[in-house]
Symmetry: C2
Subunit: 269 residues, 2 copies
Amino acid sequence: MQQAIAILDSGVGGLTVVKEVLRQLPQEKILYFGDTARSPYGSRPPEEVRRFTAQIVDYFNQFNPKMIVIACNTATAFAIEDIRAKVSVPVIGVISPGVRAAIKASRSGNVGVIGTEGTIRSEAYERALKKISPNIQVYSQACPLLAPLVERGLFDGDEALQIVEQSLAPLIENALDCLILGCTHYPFLVGPISKVMGPKVRLISSAEETAREISTILYHRGMLASTGVIPLHQFFCSGEPELFKRIAQIWLNEHISSTPIVWQVPNII
Amino acid sequence: MQQAIAILDSGVGGLTVVKEVLRQLPQEKILYFGDTARSPYGSRPPEEVRRFTAQIVDYFNQFNPKMIVIACNTATAFAIEDIRAKVSVPVIGVISPGVRAAIKASRSGNVGVIGTEGTIRSEAYERALKKISPNIQVYSQACPLLAPLVERGLFDGDEALQIVEQSLAPLIENALDCLILGCTHYPFLVGPISKVMGPKVRLISSAEETAREISTILYHRGMLASTGVIPLHQFFCSGEPELFKRIAQIWLNEHISSTPIVWQVPNII
């Protein structure tokens, strides 16, 4: 099935999902929308997040995508049920793939979750973990400073390390054996995060796991793209395109060097 | 949804899937059928494997299961499409979960696959890997001596190590970065297999990955069991039950010590 997979995020965070889709599903065509003009979503009221997410899904409609991926944990926590009710194609969020990966990975049952204020306050991870495995202990920590760091293009260096250290400090004493990166921006910060958490804590990337879940659902619905067609990806953002394009090019790197891409800034707001 | 997940295998191999389902989905009720009287399936003609698999699925019908899991690579390679056409519930095999995990895990693109003669000759893994990711290099090796080793209860020790060494020798030179254990018996032999392959080769267990895929599909179909009900599992085998029961108890260990289980030897052949 040659229609595109439509992926949306509040900004550049969802590019971590895009990178993994390009790597794990190299034949799939991608549409990406980063709502950079209104990023971050993490501290916005739920109603606003729902409205913004619905606007982007409406914009995607004209391309007739075969699947919608909400590559933003905050938007998944608040808007996924609305979007599922709105469209007829499969809708994948980033919360349950990370939940299933953490359940598979954790041996001690002590699982940490970091995310935006909205995601952590929603308790979506805790509910999803305990629904499947009631005895899991969940330690959650809102890290409101991390996504903005990534949107500024700061992935390492002293400032990044210091902010990551402060943000994760409350989790250190909890003997976690895995930590869910419950915001698609965080894989950009995997260097400082693993330095702070140490080698015994396995980091679960929503991004890798979501790409795998996309693959699973496309397979079970018979919707995988066929062999041999080079896909033409399209990237959209709502704000100033230069920084977005620069971050996308650094992050996606070899995955897009030989791939045609269309960049656009539509007026949807 | 409180109906059971029905899991079948040629013998004890599928218990590796059961163990992971018990661990990753502790609220789900399991029916297991090990066709120990006719094990192994690995060198049987495809038509015979299809007939045996269909017989077991017919037997499961009386329990009205919510999902059928073919926890045998040979039966998945030969019979999954037949079984999908035959039943109305989701049917999960063990090949594509391992394929997706290998694609996620491999950085070099050099993926090894070991399995029974039937599985390797069917080229099911090669086709499934290349369908999703055409540039992957697949190195396959039939290991007909390994499943019988497990059915005899020999999981380590000199004889196991020697047979594993001989079986894997042709793969050693191929600079693999991951190896798919393409037979559900092989996780029993993970000790000797990782000793022979060395620490740089990541082993992909069909069992862990299949349990996770079961979780994904149940979630997306709204079929997960609800919280708080202690499930009563049922285990069946077609042959002599003593060795089967002993292997099941050793392997499932703490996962079944506090769980009620019914053991039966029905006459289906």
